[in-house]
């Protein structure tokens, strides 16, 4: 069975600092991997996704993520955070095999950016 682990429930950084949010997945093959963001009282929105090719993928708002098959990881990064980046970030996995279209989410990381 597939699973996603986000080990950090909360992360606090100062505005302008760099950021890394961690994501580890468990799946027998390479799945589709996603990062979503959720602002207060809203649904989730896609930041970026990866399936194949360059392991570093660019997303919206200067976010990027790096896929590592050897580490089964898909960490989200940003060089310089802004206060408006404060939100909850979810990592997700979709196996896209022939017999399932399940999309599984991690428990989320709440990011607080201090001014």
């Amino acid at each position: 069975a597939q699973s996603v682990t986000q080990p950090d429930a909360r992360v606090t950084v100062s505005e302008g600092a760099s950021l890394q949010l961690r994501c580890k997945y468990s799946y027998s093959a390479t799945p589709y991997l996603f990062w979503y963001v959720q602002y207060p009282r809203q649904g989730l929105q896609l930041l970026l996704k990866y399936y194949s090719g360059d392991p570093v993928v660019q997303g919206v708002n200067s976010f990027e993520a790096e896929f590592s098959k050897s580490n089964s990881s898909f960490h989200l990064q940003k060089a310089s955070v802004h206060w408006s980046d404060s939100a909850v970030y979810f990592c997700a996995l979709s196996p896209l095999s022939s017999n399932t279209n399940k999309v599984v989410f991690g428990t989320g990381t709440r990011l607080q950016v201090l001014p």
Binding site: R41, G43, L44, F90, A92, S94, L96, V104, F105
Partner: protein, 114 residues
């Protein structure tokens, strides 16, 4: 305009009552999903669907039914609501053929069971 619309946005129900959460999508996506979001658990998959007439159990289906009468509509039904089903419920649609199953979410339905 919003492509995934949920109703009601807020609902207070009594224990033992029936609750229906509705979801409509205008994305023409085959796949639709119902998740619940609780602190410490993230998003957990309740039911999903590959298309009209199909429903599949997710990871936590007990106490819930789903119905997909058309491509656009996907409902979540709580026949006998319990306080443990107090949560925020999210509907999403996705297209595994053209967008890598990127999900598009509604704004959520907040359910309180008293």
């Amino acid at each position: 305009e919003a492509a995934v619309t949920q109703s009601p946005r807020n609902k207070v129900a009594v224990t033992g009552g029936k609750v229906t959460l509705s979801c409509n999508q205008t994305n023409n996506h085959n796949n639709m999903y119902w998740y619940r979001q609780d602190t410490g658990h993230g998003l957990r998959l309740i039911h999903y669907s590959y298309g009209a007439g199909s429903t599949e159990k997710g990871d936590i289906p007990d106490g819930y039914k789903a119905s997909r009468p058309s491509q656009e509509n996907f409902s979540l039904i709580l026949e006998l609501a319990t306080p443990s089903q107090t949560s925020v419920y999210f509907c999403a649609s996705g297209d595994s053929q053209n967008s890598g199953n990127t999900l598009y979410f509604g704004e959520g339905s907040r359910l309180i069971v008293v």
